[in-house]
Amino acid sequence: MLRRFALSVALTVPAVSAAADDQVTTFRLHNGMDVVVAEDHRAPVVTHMVWYRSGSADEPVGQSGVAHFLEHLLFKGTDTLAPGEFSATVAKNGGTDNAFTSYDYTAYYQRVAADRLDLMMQMESDRMVNLRLDEKDIKTERDVILEERSMRTDSNPSSLFNEQMNAAQYLNHRYGVPVIGWRHEMEELDLSDALGFYRTHYAPNNAILVVAGDVNPDEVRALAEKHYGAIPLNPDLPPRLRPSEPRQTAERRLTFKDARVSQPYISRSYLVPERDSGTQKKAAALELLAEILGGGQTSVLTEKLQFESQSAVYAAAYYNGMSLDSATFNLVMVPAEGVSLQQAEDALDQTLADFMKTGVDAEQLARIKKQLRADEIFARDDVSEIASRYGRALTQGLTIKDVQDWPDILQAVTADDIMAAARDAFDKRQSVTGWLMSDEVTQ
């Protein structure tokens, strides 16, 4: 969830394979704050980010949306900054700023001329501990997040459908609750909820500083010591205790009907492992499985369902293993004109069953690996994105080494690894299947 209104969401692109380790320096301040510096001297620009290891899945029960609400409120005042002055100052220095919240993290960033880094750190470290809020901030900003929910979710049947899919997939874990929050709980969020989340989670020992661009690590270290190093660590920072999902033993199904749906489709999710520190091999196999099944024009689902049987106008597979707790493997199929949702689901299941028999095409796997290698080269063109990988990884239980090992782990995955991952994943008893359809359609 972005605080700001943005026409394009630039900083939430799916993770590509990591690269360019030589550009990256990391260290830790004495108060426990991790620092990642990614150098790129092609332009006199810096991206300064602070990532907190706290997101919507760390919220107290009954306060869904408070992590994101607080993210908005961080742009109000502190002891030394008037409300709105933070962003106004960034703008006056020719920069842009924003923030975003996900299940496992909340992050704030500014993009500005490299010689303004000192000022950015001064202001960002200030609001880490000196936030000042009043009731009026709460009321108007709560209206803003409710409008945000209306725009992102309530105006869009696909978003409402996804919300129901997630709620059905996670019985016990907070990944089943939307990041923006359930409307009825958002309406009740108050000042003490916001401050409670702030005081619990905002501290240097729960944060990662990420600086990318035309900087050198020594200069960043000196500035970081000056601004962030001065903040004492929070000795009462709670451990990240999350309820874990029970073993899923029954297939779950749902049908979401909405008059605003003109193009029905099917969505399927399977509960699968995420990337874990030191053991990323399974996740790597799942990542390649997603590519093979539905990653592009020559993928299995596209070939079988779009080119051969022509039962789909679109079919794809997704997996994002960057997650603190259990992840999902997702399939989607938009049926062609005249194909019912039942026929589409049958065709999808048949394609998966056939794939389990025929296995991985060696040439396709080689092409995918070649593309992953090329992605490492292309990724070097966007140093902010390289730096963000570290922010995402460190807030989601991975280490710097895990990020740097990942490209080689992907390259080492074999066809057998992929089929083993597929056998584990594609158990209907661990799945949710949803149909999105219009009110009027009868299937």
């Binding site: 209104f5 332009a43 030394t80 108007t140």
Partner: protein, 438 residues
């Protein structure tokens, strides 16, 4: 409240940083094509941008959607390769080609590794010179377009966009919708696609930029190989659009909790001497920055929306000063009333010296931040060429912003801002807007 002001003022006195090291080389190839190049050998790949002026607005009224479908088929089989073989080849090369149809141009964005540059460009060339338009590919991609058009029928943003374009541009190609309609797309034939293809891609309308790991000699050779077999002349450009913009609110009834609003009045041409003053004025009113008056009044003060923005839309054949916002059905009337008030206030009272200074500092300071990657720079360079700007524009652009005076901005506010021509299109179930007014 403002204890911090002194520190910031002190920092502001520091000069803003020098521009990124953008060194454009202008090349005319042996084949006669003008190319802008920025060499950067630090990463072994190249970003190539091509633009063909004309785009969707070239297509005949009864063939609406032909250009969009044609462009969608360029990577669906070319030369000796059918769609699947083409896709496989592209993956083997690990290159990426993007093809997009816009109202005034078709854009081709390519990214390829140095190690297989020639093979990648040969494949790109085939897609631009010898696309196959195989019958099965046409039907498959047509199905995708129709599926998208069907979804658009119940999407508030798409409904608003269509209603707005139709109202404002009428019978001009801009009024038809870039993707056509379900009826026109269903009726398109392969011959229709070939016809718009021949009209769209020609050497008399192409703009080229390259950024990355390539030398001038290689760039010239590459571009000539790419364009050598393209026809010299394409279809004639669409004429100017007559704008239908009058004061009032058009409501499109649609059952959704939040109303989507688009609004506009006539705008200004990019080559108008007042363009930069208008650009600064738009930033203060609602453009991009979060410090705009509309963002403060509508979001920060009143919580009426998640976001509101305005922009100067300078198309080849029409200029608008436009914006968009979304508000709960119960609040949208208040939102519109605040926008109207701000429009009037800005025209009547102008901006303050401080607002102008902040806007200029933001615009000049953020400009260098744009030049931050091969792909981004290639995109900027080709856009500059289409505007007819010289290669040294990058070095002078901030001077042009800084040259804008308070008198300029306030004069232009009176010249351009026209509350009597500000039209709103609202999609939703707005409360308190008296039905369809005018």
């Amino acid at each position: 409240m403002m204890r911090f002001v002194l520190t910031i003022a002190a920092l502001l006195s520091t000069a803003l940083p020098a521009l990124a090291d953008v060194k454009i080389q202008e090349i005319t190839t042996p084949g006669g094509t003008h190319v802008w190049l920025q060499e950067d050998h630090s990463i072994p790949f190249v970003a190539l941008e091509l633009r063909f002026r004309g785009g969707v607005s070239l297509e005949p009224a009864d063939k609406a959607g032909a250009t969009n479908l044609m462009v969608g088929l360029l990577e669906e089989g070319a030369g000796d390769l059918n769609a699947r073989a083409f896709a496989r080849r592209l993956e083997e090369l690990a290159a990426s080609f993007g093809y997009r149809a816009y109202d005034d141009a078709i854009s081709i964005s390519a990214r390829f590794l140095t190690e297989n540059q020639d093979q990648s460009l040969a494949l790109l060339r085939d897609s631009l010179i010898a696309p196959r338009f195989d019958a099965d590919a046409v039907e498959r991609v047509r199905g995708q377009v129709l599926s998208g058009l069907k979804s658009d029928e119940t999407d508030p943003d798409s409904i608003a966009g269509r209603a707005f374009d139709k109202l404002v541009y009428g019978a001009h190609p801009y009024g038809r919708g870039r993707q056509g309609t379900i009826e026109t797309v269903a009726a398109l034939t392969r011959d229709d696609l070939i016809k718009v293809f021949k009209g769209a891609f020609a050497r008399d309308r192409v703009y080229v930029s390259l950024v990355g790991d390539i030398t001038p000699a290689q760039a010239a050779k590459t571009v000539d190989a790419l364009l050598a077999d393209m026809p010299e002349v394409g279809a004639p450009m669409a004429g100017p659009a007559a704008l239908n913009l009058t004061k009032g609110i058009t409501v499109v009834d649609f059952d959704t909790p939040q109303s989507v609003v688009m609004f506009a009045q006539p705008g200004i041409k990019r080559d108008d001497p007042d363009f930069f003053a208008a650009f600064v004025l738009d930033l203060i009113l609602g453009g991009g920055s979060f410090e705009s008056r509309l963002m403060h009044e509508v979001r920060e003060k009143r919580g009426l929306t998640y976001g509101i923005n305005t922009y100067l839309l300078a198309k080849d054949q029409a200029q608008l000063w436009a914006g968009s916002v979304a508000s709960a059905n119960e609040k949208v009337a208040e939102t519109i009333s605040v926008i109207r008030d701000e429009w009037q206030k800005l025209r009547d009272n102008g901006v303050s010296e401080a607002e102008l200074r902040d806007a200029k500092t933001y615009l000049t300071g953020s400009y260098p931040l744009r030049f931050d990657g091969n792909g981004t720079i290639a995109n900027i360079l080709v856009g500059m060429q289409m505007q007819g700007w010289p290669a040294d524009y990058i070095a002078t652009r901030n001077d042009r912003v800084n040259a804008v005076t308070l008198d300029d901005v306030n004069r232009v506010a009176i010249r351009l801002l026209d509350p009597e021509a500000l039209r709103f299109v609202v999609v939703g179930k707005p409360v308190g807007l008296d039905g369809v007014s005018n």
